[in-house]
Each structure stands twice: as structure tokens, then as C-alpha cells.
């Protein structure tokens, strides 16, 4: 007789599609974002294949433009933004703070349906022939020139924005109001801190991009000339409003990954984080300062030089909390008891790639240098180091770390290590050459390009093929573990945290009565045995 868990408590499609259990909703998200990841990945593969030769012979220019647009839209709005928050955050935040569910379980389910509805709009746009504006929807191309399915895609983004807002709202209220007795702010796992910061961005930024894409749709359908230069409208205003959200959105992607890495590093070094409050507050600092830097996307766009100076300065400031995090993670490993299980390998991969991604961001914040590298492959390489090397490595690391808790099963560790290695190698081969091509001057979104850039593109496409294999392997062994995996203990890693105290997989209510928490997470040494800084 199997014990009752959230997985076997209720069977049939309806028990999943109408569930209010945050853990089941997390799995709904897991399945749907994986589907979108595969779709977005296919678009990326077509883009990379096209760029194998300089002449643009595989796809027509129009098709190519639609491919990179759909790749961007799907990956940003339908994979990266929901990835860690909606799957791991949804699953873990209530458990980590000792609650039975999020504050608003019905709204949580609603946000998944909104996400799916937005996704449907985007897929309909794709199937009807796609959209070719780039994921940035820059006016006046998107309002006056493009004759692809801009409105459908914009509405998809608009709708899914509300899913993100509702998730953020739910997290904020939950973290404020649902913490168990004894779970003080400074005992919160760093994963929860980073999700709190992420939620702030979701609720403060997302509505602005929602209204902005709505304005684009209104300009196309209702002829409201909000960005029309003929009426005195300013295309640069669109860029302001768009990046007011879309730059902080990068932190929506990376902050949760940072939270995951904080957890993994502590668990596999069996050591509490070095400088807890610095790591916690750096998340908030990134979220807040991250809102003040959007104009570094506009250095060559005709923005005032003085505004540029402010944005450049603030962009450099946001580097500091990121640096603090990296140094603190490294210091956490010092004198730890380090075990190189697969989640830790992903975390190390994250540390390396995020460091490069973050530091190359400084190139773009440097005004004089940005003039040259803006809108080249240098930018493409930089943000993929953050979004793929950072966010996806963090997501995969987290998935490997908590998979035994989510599924109650162990996956194949050798395969997991192997795939971590493949992803790391494939990733660097894909995106490092793009830095070189970018500094050489290869503009982004080019269907055909001068032949002297070809060698870098061939390397990149080769790397992308390896990367694709690296992403496929986990899907296989995770799937296999569900069928034939060894049963996991409550705490397979010897980690410390509320989620490891309850059964794997957890029961529907997480905790039978509200727990009374006595200490923070990842305390591996009793307080009486504490020693000072060496």
C-alpha cells in the first residue's frame, strides 16, 4: 500500500486540470514550459542551420526573420520567465516557508490557464505564418511596416504577462503572510529571498510592457497614433516603455537561478552561505537598481547623452550586487565538504558562465564601447551567457537537485553528470564564437552575412548541435526515472531545509500541522559548535 502523496491523491485528467495544489500546478507548468522549450529550441536550430552558410540559402529571408522572432518570443515569455518561478518556485516556496499552499491557490491555477491562453495566441500566430518584428516589437516597424501576425503575437505576450503578474502577486503575499511560526525573514532560504525580489519585478514591470504591446496593437487596429512620427509620436518612447520592463525581465530570469545556486552550493558544500544577509539583500538590490538601467539599450537610439550617462552609471552599479553574490558563493565552498553530484556540476557551470555573462555586460554598459557592439552578435552572446548559461543552467541544476523531492525517484547520476558536461561544452562552443563575430561587427538578425564571419558561425552551429543533445539527455533520464527510478529518501543529499524534512514526494498538505521553525536552512553545525572566521 503506497502512502498518500500529492501525486497519487486523485487520479484522472480532471484531478490535474482542476487542481489547486501548488505542487500539481508546478508540474502543469513543468510540462507546458518544456513543450515551449522544445518549440523555441526548434526555431533556434533552424536559425543556426541557416547561418551555417553566409549566403542565406536554407530559408527565405522572411522565414528566417520569423524564426528568430518566434525563438525570442517563445523562449523569453513562455520559457525563461516562467521557468524557475512557476515550476520550482511554485513547488517549493510554500514548503520552504512551512505553509500548506500559496496564499491564493485558485489564482495560481488561473495563472497557468492564462499562460496557456497566451501560449495559444502565440502558437496561432506562429501557425498562421508567424510574426517578423523581432521579440522586441520595435515601432514603427511593428506598427506601420510589418504585415505579419503582430497583433496575435502581441496579444499573446499581453495575456501571458498577466500570468506572470499573478504568480508574482501570489508569491509576495505568500511570503509576507504565510510563513510558519519561527520562520523569520532572516531564516528564509535564499531561494525564497530571490523569488521575493523576482516577484517585485513581475508586479512592477510586467504591467508596463503589457500596456506597451497593447498600444502597438491599438495603433495597428484602431489607428491610435501613439508612436506615429507623423503625429509627433516618438519611436524611442516605445523603446523606453518596452525596456522599462524588458531589462528588469532579465533579472526575472536570473534572480531565481541565483536563488537555486545559493541552495545547491550550500547543500553540496554542506555549509551555510557565506554572508547570508549580503546575498539576500543583493537580490533586492538587483531588483531595485535593475529598474533604473533600462536606457542602456538606447545609447545609439537617439536618447539624450545625459540620460545615457545616468543609465550607464546605474548599469555599472547593478554589477556590484551580482559580484557580491559570486564572491559569496565561492567563499561558501571554502572549507566546505564538497560533493560533486550533478546539481553541483550545474551550479559550477552556472558560476563560470554567469561570471563571463555578467562581466561582458559591463562592455555594453560602457557607453563608448556599446556604440560599436550594440546590435551585434556580441550582445547576442552576452545575453545568452546570462539567459542560457545562467538561467537555464540554474533551472537544470534546480531540477536535478529537487527532482527526488518532486518525483520521489532517483535519476541516473552518471548520465546526469555526463549531460551537465555536454551542456557546458556545447554552450561555450555555441556562444563564445559569437563574442568574436560580434566584435568583428556582425550585426544580429542577419539572414545573410559577409563570408569572413562564416567560421565563427559554423563553430556556433556545431556547438548548438551538441547543446541540443545535452538538453535531450535529461528529458530521457528524468522520464526513465519516473518509470524505473530507485525510490528516493526524504533527504537524499543530506541537505537541510524544510523541504527535506517531509516525505518524497510530499503529501498534498505538505505539513499536517503548521511547523514551528527553530533555525534557518543549511545549518550543518550545531550553534554550540560554532567557530569564528578562520
Amino acid at each position: 500500500m503506497a502512502t498518500l502523496t500529492y501525486l497519487n491523491n486523485g487520479h484522472g485528467l480532471a484531478s490535474w486540470l482542476l487542481t489547486k495544489d501548488h505542487k500539481r500546478i508546478a508540474l502543469l507548468y513543468l510540462v507546458s514550459i518544456t513543450a515551449f522549450f522544445v518549440v523555441g529550441g526548434l526555431f533556434a536550430m533552424l536559425v543556426r542551420l541557416e547561418l551555417l552558410t553566409p549566403t542565406g540559402d536554407l530559408l527565405a529571408a522572411e522565414t528566417y526573420n520569423k524564426m528568430f522572432t518566434m525563438h525570442g518570443v517563445v523562449m523569453v515569455f513562455f520559457f525563461l520567465i516562467p521557468s524557475i518561478p512557476a515550476v520550482l518556485g511554485n513547488f517549493l516556496i510554500p514548503i520552504m516557508i512551512g505553509a500548506k499552499d500559496l496564499a491564493f491557490p485558485r489564482i495560481n491555477l488561473l495563472s497557468w490557464y492564462i499562460y496557456i491562453l497566451g501560449g495559444m495566441f502565440t502558437l496561432v500566430a506562429a501557425l498562421n505564418g508567424g510574426v517578423d518584428t523581432g521579440w522586441t516589437f520595435y515601432t514603427p516597424y511593428s506598427t506601420a511596416a510589418a504585415n505579419s501576425h503582430v497583433i496575435t503575437a502581441a496579444l499573446g505576450v499581453f495575456i501571458t504577462g498577466f500570468s506572470s503578474i499573478l504568480t508574482g502577486l501570489n508569491f509576495i503575499v505568500t511570503i509576507h503572510r504565510m510563513r510558519a511560526p519561527g520562520m523569520t525573514w532572516f531564516r528564509l532560504p535564499l531561494f525564497v529571498w530571490s523569488h521575493y525580489a523576482t516577484s517585485l519585478i513581475m508586479i512592477l514591470g510586467t504591467p508596463v510592457v503589457a500596456i506597451t504591446v497593447l498600444m502597438v496593437a491599438a495603433e495597428r487596429t484602431l489607428h491610435l497614433g501613439l508612436f506615429d512620427p507623423a503625429l509627433g509620436g516618438d519611436p524611442v518612447l516605445f523603446q523606453h516603455l518596452f525596456w522599462f520592463y524588458s531589462h528588469p525581465a532579465v533579472y526575472i530570469m536570473i534572480l531565481p537561478a541565483m536563488g537555486v545556486i545559493s541552495e545547491i552550493v550550500q547543500a553540496f558544500a554542506r555549509k551555510n552561505i557565506f554572508g547570508y544577509s549580503f546575498v539576500a539583500f543583493s537580490s533586492l538590490a538587483i531588483a531595485v537598481i535593475g529598474f533604473l538601467v533600462w536606457g542602456h539599450h538606447l545609447f545609439v537610439a537617439g536618447q539624450s547623452v545625459y540620460a545615457g550617462l545616468i543609465f550607464s552609471f546605474l548599469s555599472f552599479l547593478v554589477a556590484i550586487p551580482s559580484a557580491i553574490k559570486v564572491f559569496n558563493w565561492t567563499a561558501t565552498i571554502y572549507k566546505g565538504s564538497v560533493s560533486l553530484d550533478s546539481p553541483m556540476l550545474y551550479a559550477f557551470g552556472f558560476l563560470g558562465l554567469f561570471t563571463i555573462g555578467g562581466l561582458t555586460g559591463l562592455f555594453l554598459a560602457t557607453m563608448g564601447l556599446d556604440i560599436h557592439v550594440h546590435d551585434t552578435y556580441f550582445v547576442v552572446a552576452h545575453f545568452h551567457y546570462i539567459m542560457v548559461g545562467g538561467a537555464i543552467m540554474g533551472y537544470l541544476g534546480g531540477l536535478h537537485y529537487w527532482w527526488p523531492k518532486i518525483s520521489g525517484k532517483r535519476y541516473s547520476e552518471p548520465w546526469a553528470k555526463f549531460s551537465a558536461l555536454i551542456v557546458f561544452v556545447g554552450f561555450n562552443l555555441t556562444f563564445f564564437p559569437q563574442f568574436v563575430a560580434g566584435y568583428l561587427g556582425m550585426p544580429r538578425r542577419y539572414h545573410a552575412y559577409p563570408p569572413e564571419f562564416q567560421v565563427w558561425n559554423v563553430a556556433s552551429t556545431l556547438g548548438a548541435s551538441i547543446l541540443a543533445v545535452g538538453y535531450l539527455i535529461p528529458i530521457i533520464y528524468f522520464g526513465y526515472s519516473l518509470v524505473a527510478g530507485e525510490k528516493s529518501a526524504n533527504d537524499p543529499w543530506g541537505a537541510r531545509g524544510l523541504e527535506w524534512e517531509i516525505p518524497s514526494p510530499p503529501p498534498t498538505e505538505n505539513f499536517t500541522v503548521t511547523p514551528v521553525v527553530t533555525e534557518g536552512t543549511h545549518q550543518y553545525v550545531r550553534p554550540t559548535q560554532e567557530v569564528g572566521v578562520a
Partner: protein, 320 residues
């Protein structure tokens, strides 16, 4: 197959060296910190590897001194980047006085270029080395971006307004010109070349090319064809403001504000004449939006500028 692939772009303008110097500084910083973090992680992972499953790490909670250290040092480094980058930006942004002016109009998917003497080019720009060149750029449709990698310069070309870009080529040769802002289906076809020539060769090219009428002459013809001259007469008695000696000066408006009569103002006064009414005049001028192309607008501006005595030029506006 890949016999000729560069690792590093050519340096062919006076700005390229400045930009590359910043770049090398940042590459050095990036390499140093990436290697530092990577080697620390590898070293710690080996030295402190778990030898027994019952082990836990040492109880270290943090160190304020270290936190300060690794906040303040990076802060100092990025402030160097900020100041240096801003200085390079200002140098790249502010055109020097006396630069040779060229008009550029971007449209899907070509670059239309007009030299001051009437030479016109498409997707190709001939310039002399050793002389600053200033581009005044407008767009007929969507946003484009004028990008010359070998010169390390780039500026968006935005409909409804003008942007400027300047450079000074140092080495004769042919360089890539790219459109860097995505502008539609044939975005990657909106490319061309910059041909930098020795001054003598450039003069020869100017003479040899089929120079049509200069922008000033074309502007003057348009001025008559569009009947601008019926109101804007050469005295103060016209129904429209007198344009002689207008350019570069300050204009008093009906609502009491003043505005500098630069290219943007002249352009606005043609396409949207009601936006700024000069004090003492009636708002009777019709709009020419849609009646004149971006190129013709630039020609009209060139003509209006030519009505200002050379001595006034440089007082304000872009013409210094």
C-alpha cells in the same frame, strides 16, 4: 575553406583606437575575474572534497571586511570603466567643427546618400581620409542604424527626426556598411561599403562622378516649385518669416518660448508647420507632410542654411 577569417576588426578611423583601448581593458578585467573565480572554485572543490559521507563544512558565517573588500574593489574598477567609456562616447558623439557634411536617408532596404556638391550614391559612401565627415541622417520608414565596424561608429536612423554620426577615416580602403537595427525582410541586404580614399583620389572621384545639382540648388528649385517663395520672401514683409540669416539663430515663438533654428526645427516647420508658430505670424502655412520626401527635406534644409551668411554659421545648431 576558411583561409581568410579575421579575429579582430580593422582599425580604420581615429576613433577605432580609442574604442579598442577600452575594449582591451575590459577584456583584461573579464579574463582576470573569470579565471580567478574558476580557479578558486576548482581549487576549493578539490581541496575540500568530501571524503566521508558524514562530513559537514566548517562553521563560517561571513566577514564584513571581506564583503566590503569585494564590493569596493569592483566598484572602483567599474567607475573607471564608466568614466573612460563616457569620455569615449562624448568624443564619438560630438562632431568637430568644419566636418564635411553628407546627407543620408535610410529606407527599406537601401541607403541613399547625397554629397554637398550633388554627387549621389546608393549603398556606397566615398569619403576622404584625414578629414572629419559628419552624416546627417533621416529615415523614410522605420528605424535603421548606420554601422561601420571598421570605424567603430554606429547611430540609429529614426523616422521623424535627424541623427548625426561622425568619423574620420585614417586608412584608405573599402569597409563594410551595415544596417544594425532590424528593419524588415531584407534587413541583411541593407548593406554597402564605405570607400575611404586619399584626398586627391577623392577629389578626382567627386569630379568624375555624374554630379547632379547640389542639395542647395535642388532645394532652391524645390523652394520655387512648392511656391514657398510666395510667402517666405526676402524681406520681413512676407506672410511667412524671412529665412535669410535664420539658420543657427534663436527664434522667438508665439507662446513666448525660443527655439534654435537647427535642422530639426526647419524639418518640423515644413512637415508640421503649426507645431511652433513664430511670434508675429499667423498659422496659415499648410503641411508638406507626404508632399516632400526625406531627401527633398534635406535639400530644402540645405537651401535654408545657404541663406545664412557664412559668418553666422557655427553660432549654434549643428553647423559649427
Amino acid at each position: 575553406m576558411f583561409t581568410n577569417f579575421p579575429f579582430f576588426p580593422q582599425q580604420a578611423s581615429v576613433q577605432a583606437g580609442q574604442v579598442d583601448a577600452v575594449y582591451f581593458f575590459l577584456v583584461a578585467v573579464t579574463a582576470f575575474f573569470s579565471l580567478l573565480i574558476a580557479s578558486l572554485i576548482v581549487a576549493f572543490a578539490i581541496k575540500y572534497r568530501r571524503r566521508d559521507d558524514s562530513e559537514v563544512g566548517a562553521a563560517i558565517h561571513g566577514s564584513l571586511a571581506l564583503e566590503m573588500l569585494w564590493s569596493i574593489i569592483p566598484l572602483g574598477i567599474v567607475m573607471v570603466m564608466f568614466v573612460w567609456g563616457a569620455k569615449v562616447f562624448f568624443d564619438l558623439y560630438r562632431p568637430p567643427a568644419g566636418a564635411m557634411e553628407v546627407f543620408v536617408v535610410g529606407k527599406q532596404w537601401m541607403w541613399k546618400i547625397q554629397h554637398a556638391d550633388g554627387n549621389r550614391e546608393i549603398n556606397e559612401l566615398h569619403v576622404p581620409v584625414g578629414r572629419p565627415v559628419k552624416l546627417i541622417m533621416g529615415s523614410e520608414d522605420v528605424i535603421h542604424s548606420f554601422f561601420i565596424p571598421a570605424f567603430r561608429v554606429k547611430a540609429d536612423v529614426i523616422p521623424g527626426r535627424y541623427n548625426v554620426l561622425w568619423f574620420e577615416a585614417t586608412t584608405p580602403g573599402t569597409y563594410h556598411l551595415f544596417c544594425a537595427e532590424y528593419c524588415g525582410t531584407k534587413h541583411s541586404g541593407m548593406v554597402g561599403s564605405i570607400v575611404a580614399m586619399e584626398p586627391a583620389d577623392f577629389q578626382a572621384w567627386l569630379g568624375g562622378g555624374g554630379a547632379s545639382e547640389s542639395p542647395v540648388a535642388a532645394g532652391q528649385r524645390l523652394f520655387t516649385d512648392l511656391a514657398c517663395n510666395t510667402c517666405h520672401i526676402e524681406t520681413q514683409q512676407g506672410r511667412g518669416p524671412m529665412l535669410t540669416n535664420l539658420f543657427g539663430g534663436k527664434v522667438l515663438l508665439q507662446n513666448g518660448a525660443t527655439v534654435v533654428a537647427d535642422e530639426v526645427y526647419i524639418r518640423e516647420s515644413i512637415v508640421n508647420p503649426q507645431a511652433k508658430i513664430v511670434a508675429g505670424f499667423q498659422p496659415i502655412m499648410p503641411t508638406f507632410q507626404g508632399l516632400v520626401t526625406e531627401e527633398q527635406l534635406l535639400q530644402l534644409i540645405a537651401y535654408v542654411r545657404s541663406l545664412t551668411r557664412a559668418s553666422r554659421e557655427g553660432a549654434a545648431g549643428t553647423s559649427q
